[in-house]
């Protein structure tokens, strides 16, 4: 057991606080959203890191961690920090290297019985059509100039080029395009890294999964109906980001910020990975624009993967994708910084919100949510480990007050990859999963072992914590039956 429980002050069963006098230089207190059980599982580095975040200039109200928080680089994963637009900073470490890593949930009108006889064929074909793992190159052949267009146009480029449906845009956060993106702010090296990666999953915890809606796991029938979910339905969920391109954008600016942060802006930080620049500075604005390019690239990556999924299902079921009901529920980003308006001390205030391994969770009524979801709240997609299951949640009005409309993003690791490889054998895991009715196709057995269910926190505990803290609402839990692992 760790000593975190002795550091924090209990505010409720799911909210814990570390006062601003815990560490020298903290500008705000820390708020941890977690059950006592999750708090006990948290590594101490999360506390070191989130209290470092609390020292950043211009931070508003609190530095937050979500229930799936675990240590990252600089910021913890599952960390949220809102900065004042005038006094605050922007930090690549608060967004994550994999800019706009996110989740996409896609419906089908097929049932588990329809898919069962075709499952292996589907997974094998998806594995072939959506490259995963080291150095995987995608099917979209483009030149540098087209890549630059992609970084500025986001998913609209896909619709114009036959890789998406008009309705896909509406069902993507920000309608699939960040309008402040300027390719001029991106290095040639970053473009070189991303050029062949459109339509690829990557590796690590990135995956593409075929899942089933068990009737007993529909928690909110009305909301489920609104998003198009029905009992025994098969859905597809996938998790990936901006690949090497996003990483390069983050690294380029991390280095730039290290060069000017102290000498030009007199900002002192406690960890090099917290490198930052004033949001309004030239460097800050350049990064904000480049980061939006990476958000757009990631939207395009997930959109072209969806195109491949539609092709595969269409081929296997010998029917057009439209007739198979392959519509998106939503696409959510969980590694971003965005300018949003929230209420602070009774007044509306614009701020730059860093969410690293945290999902935006707008409650009902927000104009940013697609019309069809505006009465129920923004869909939030929570990816679990490949053995356990995943969730569809909704944002809540309370989340605005509590966390500037932020919630968890996944289950969160509790075991390092090295330890997971020592504990589990990939081949045994593969066979065990097959017995449970999950067919998995992975680049390597060792990669599979790293993603074993027991290497992660219990997804149900994480979701319970978000629901009990009222920052999300439970709609449905999905059970995996097929998995392509990066």
């Amino acid at each position: 057991m760790n000593d975190i429980i002795n550091i924090v002050k209990k505010k409720s069963d799911t909210i814990w606080e570390i006062p601003a006098d815990y560490k020298q230089g903290m500008n705000v207190p820390v708020r941890i959203y977690a059950t006592k059980q999750l708090l006990k599982l948290m590594d101490h580095q999360v506390i070191d890191q989130i209290t470092n975040v609390a020292t950043l200039p211009g931070i508003i109200n609190y530095a937050y961690t979500m229930p799936d928080a675990h240590s990252g680089y600089g910021f913890p994963i599952g960390g949220v920090a809102a900065m004042d637009l005038k006094e605050g900073v922007i930090s690549p470490g608060g967004i994550g290297f994999d800019i706009n890593c996110g989740m996409r949930l896609v419906l089908t009108n097929l049932t588990h019985n329809d898919v069962k006889p075709k499952l292996r064929e589907l997974v094998d074909q998806l594995y072939n059509k959506v490259p995963a793992g080291v150095g995987g190159a995608g099917f979209v052949k483009i030149n540098k100039s087209e890549f630059r267009d992609i970084t500025e146009m986001g998913s609209t480029w896909c619709v114009e080029n036959g890789y998406g449906w008009e309705e896909d845009l509406e069902n993507t956060e920000e309608s699939g395009i960040m309008k402040g993106a300027s390719a001029e702010k991106v290095s040639d090296v970053a473009i070189k890294r991303g050029l062949k990666q459109i339509g690829t999953l990557g590796s690590g915890n990135h995956y593409l999964e075929i899942q089933v809606v068990k009737p007993e796991y529909i928690f909110d029938e009305k909301a489920a109906k609104t998003v198009g979910i029905f009992p025994n339905q098969v859905v597809i969920m996938f998790h990936c980001g901006s690949r090497g391109f996003g990483h390069q954008v983050a690294t380029d600016y991390l280095k730039k910020f290290l060069g000017v942060m102290e000498s030009k802006y007199n900002i002192k930080i406690l960890d090099r990975e917290l490198a930052c620049a004033p949001f309004q500075s030239q460097e800050g604005q350049d990064y904000f624009s480049a980061m939006q390019c990476a958000i757009n690239m990631s939207f395009v990556n997930r959109q072209t993967i969806l195109h491949r999924i539609r092709e595969v299902f269409s081929k296997v079921f010998k029917t057009e994708p439209e007739k198979l009901g392959l519509s998106m529920v939503y696409d959510v980003a969980h590694n971003t910084a965005k300018v949003e308006e929230h209420e602070v001390d009774g007044k509306n205030r614009k701020m730059i919100i860093h969410r690293k391994g945290a999902t935006r969770a707008f409650g009902p009524g927000r104009s940013e949510i697609p019309l069809k979801y505006r009465n129920i709240g923004q869909p939030v997609i929570i990816g679990g480990s490949m053995e356990t299951g995943s969730y569809l949640l909704l944002g809540t009005k309370e989340a605005h007050k509590e966390t500037f409309a932020s919630t968890a993003h996944g289950s969160g690791r509790i075991m390092s990859r090295t330890k997971a490889k020592r504990m589990f054998r990939g081949e045994t895991l593969y066979k065990d999963m097959l017995k449970k009715g999950i067919y998995v196709k992975s680049v390597s057995y060792s990669g599979l072992a790293e993603e074993a269910g027991d290497a992660y926190k219990d997804i149900d505990d994480v979701v319970d914590a978000t629901v009990n803290a009222k920052i999300s609402k439970r709609v449905v839990r999905f059970i995996p039956i097929g998995n392509v692992k990066g």
Binding site: G135, G244, G486
Partner: protein, 133 residues
């Protein structure tokens, strides 16, 4: 924790660069010997800080992997120092990823500055780094 921690020890600074390069590739490919060394990539990096020089050197290898699907298993490294900066001139030997011959493991997405260090103690150089995978 989505990462791999690496520690490299060597009697020379050049040795640190060579072994760090090998460790980086070894994170992605199980058997370094499976990588043929019939292609070479010549490059130079500069930095005012010695540790950031190593960081930049390794970053070049990650970029080549993504941009040109290249993996490297052998390295020749020369390090020079001027008044203002350190310069590494390197040749990396390797080949394109071969999905049949190379047993691939985790994809290294980035070298991070998290706990990144390069230190010298008497005759021994030591580098510690965390790779984002």
């Amino acid at each position: 924790m989505a990462d791999a921690a690496i520690e490299v020890n060597s009697e020379s600074l050049e040795g640190i660069f060579v072994d760090s390069g090998k460790a980086l590739t070894n994170t992605m490919v199980d058997d370094l010997k499976s990588i043929k060394t019939n292609q070479k990539y010549t490059f130079k990096v500069e930095s005012q800080e010695r540790d950031l020089l190593l960081f930049e050197f390794l970053e070049k290898l990650v970029i080549e992997k993504d941009a040109n699907q290249m993996l490297f298993s052998e390295f020749e490294v020369k390090i020079n120092q001027t008044d203002k900066k350190f310069i590494v001139s390197a040749i990396a030997y390797g080949e394109h990823i071969d999905y049949d011959r190379h047993e691939l493991c985790a994809d290294v997405k980035a070298v991070t500055l998290h706990k990144f260090s390069l230190t010298q103690e008497k005759e021994n150089w030591k580098a510690e780094m965390i790779l984002d995978i």
